[in-house]
Symmetry: C2
């Protein structure tokens, strides 16, 4: 099927050509994934138990962090730790930190002054549920707690890993905020092409935290330089691919609903991959990024099976 011919259908973004190249076994065992997510959720809840926050703030944070969501970032950290030869559970503090950062960003992004979204994961957004003031403050608290979880002396993290993990949290969060500024308020160098602007937005807005999640998992597993380089390569490719696939799914959804959402994006002055590169061009970018991520995951050997499974899952997702 040539690129672009199925613009109106919600089909997998990657082509079969790509999936045939898989050498490292792919681990997409749904029961295992569910067990991992259950363990991550229990760890988040247990960390929050230990924080002894005031009740209303605690409730708001649990609502935002634990209510739904796929825990993609903690699972990436888990699989990256496995790919570097350790049990995935060693990545749990890193996973909690990135999930807190991700959840804080959603809470603030949903605010009326930002995206003004009333629904998130099928439930009222936090500012609808608990009011804007609580949403602002709970977001601030979640960001702070992300640093606390890395420094928590009761976790099994090696001391030498903590400063590196904190550096990853900072870099990922800062880049995410810069990406959000670029996406909603502009301010990018005028000399950039539209495609360069898109890359700049998404490498920062979505990619940086996904990359941080993977690298943090590797750091928790005391990865050697080669392993960390492979994880970094994987994470940068999958981080950007994640957004391209998101844009494609949106655009394909739009086609079925007379381009309504696309119109909204254009109206808001937002750049998307399909609006800049077209459906075919965006598919090509997604496929190339998939190839890059796959090569990096395979370079980690059999232990990379979990990362390969996640890559397939993300590439072929329908929502």
């Amino acid at each position: 099927m040539p690129d672009g011919s199925n613009a109106g259908e919600a089909l997998p973004v990657a082509t079969n050509r790509l999936r045939l190249r898989v050498k490292t076994q792919s681990n997409t065992n749904p029961a295992e994934l569910k067990t991992i997510i259950t363990q991550i959720d229990a760890s988040i809840a247990s960390f929050l138990d230990g924080c002894s926050l005031t009740t209303n703030l605690d409730e708001a944070i649990r609502y935002a962090v634990l209510g739904g969501g796929k825990r993609l970032r903690p699972v990436l950290a888990w699989r990256a730790a496995e790919a570097c030869g350790r049990a995935g559970a060693c990545s749990i503090p890193a996973g909690i930190a990135v999930e807190l950062i991700h959840a804080f960003s959603l809470v603030h992004d949903d605010l009326p002054a930002m995206d003004d979204d009333d629904l998130r994961r099928g439930r009222p957004t936090l500012h609808i549920q608990s009011g804007e003031a609580m949403a602002i403050l709970a977001g601030d608290a979640m960001l702070t707690l992300a640093f606390e979880v890395i420094m928590d002396p009761s976790s099994a993290l090696e001391e030498s890993a903590r400063p590196r993990l904190l550096g990853e949290v900072c870099a990922g969060t800062r880049a995410m905020i810069v990406g959000q500024v670029h996406d909603t308020l502009g301010g990018m160098p005028e000399s950039l092409s539209e495609e360069e602007k898109l890359q700049l937005i998404h490498r920062n807005k979505t990619g940086a935290l996904i990359s941080a999640a993977c690298r943090m998992g590797a750091i928790c597993a005391d990865a050697d330089e080669n392993q960390l380089a492979s994880i970094t390569e994987f994470s940068e490719a999958i981080g950007l691919q994640f957004q391209v696939v998101d844009d494609l799914l949106d655009a394909e959804g739009d086609a079925a609903t007379v381009g309504k959402a696309t119109g909204k994006d254009i109206e808001a002055g937002k750049l998307t991959y399909p609006s800049v590169l077209g459906i075919a061009g965006s598919r090509k970018v997604a496929a190339d990024l998939h190839d890059r991520a796959m090569a990096a995951a395979q370079s980690l050997g059999p232990d990379g099976a979990g990362l390969v499974g996640l890559l397939e899952k993300l590439t072929n997702r329908q929502h």
Copy 2:
């Protein structure tokens, strides 16, 4: 003059009785203080230069952090470092971090969904100047940068100090947010008396970051256990006293303007020291806290002169 007799006048909160007790020399040299603040501001600007943020975000952060303000917290860190026997400049990274946290909290507190303030330090608040979205995002970025400055490898901080400083930033920030939640959204245990609620709010909302600033200065100076204990005692007393004096100045201002602001506080369900303890009772609390802070500063010997000077300045301020 008996307590409470000058409710309508904006007079120093501490009585002369207290100031006569000063034994450690007080250093309130205004030229020296100005030099310190200039050095702190230059360091904040230099740190932001190194962050290479996107232009509009960078401008918003500089507007919020460097536009006015007394730099109380960085100066406290500086004087605490001096009191522990080192040059105050060793505290600069700590000072930048606490000032970023303080500035972020003001930006978010000023938002329409929070205190809805249009003016701050005689200029439009950041959301008036740059829009609400930028104010939310710039606040988030400032909070993140506070952690970055402590981890910045180019600073002269001793490696062993960094985790302790990060712990102080976390504890101070988390407590500040909890205090803001209590102050604006309630949620305190019903079993507490009004005075206990007031203490709980202000120890968290204002006191914790002031305390963190002092302790961080001491940590930068590699304080011994006794010094750190004295600085902690000083910081807890001055942190709470700061808010009591604030409330008194507000209440005294109110008396001159027919209690307008007091009415606003009561209407908003906000507790203040004068509304709970009366003017006389609040003065007594401020004086007792002054005594505690003074004793702690004096226990640090001649090097505590800068802290004593700050205590006098804060106790006797008119705004």
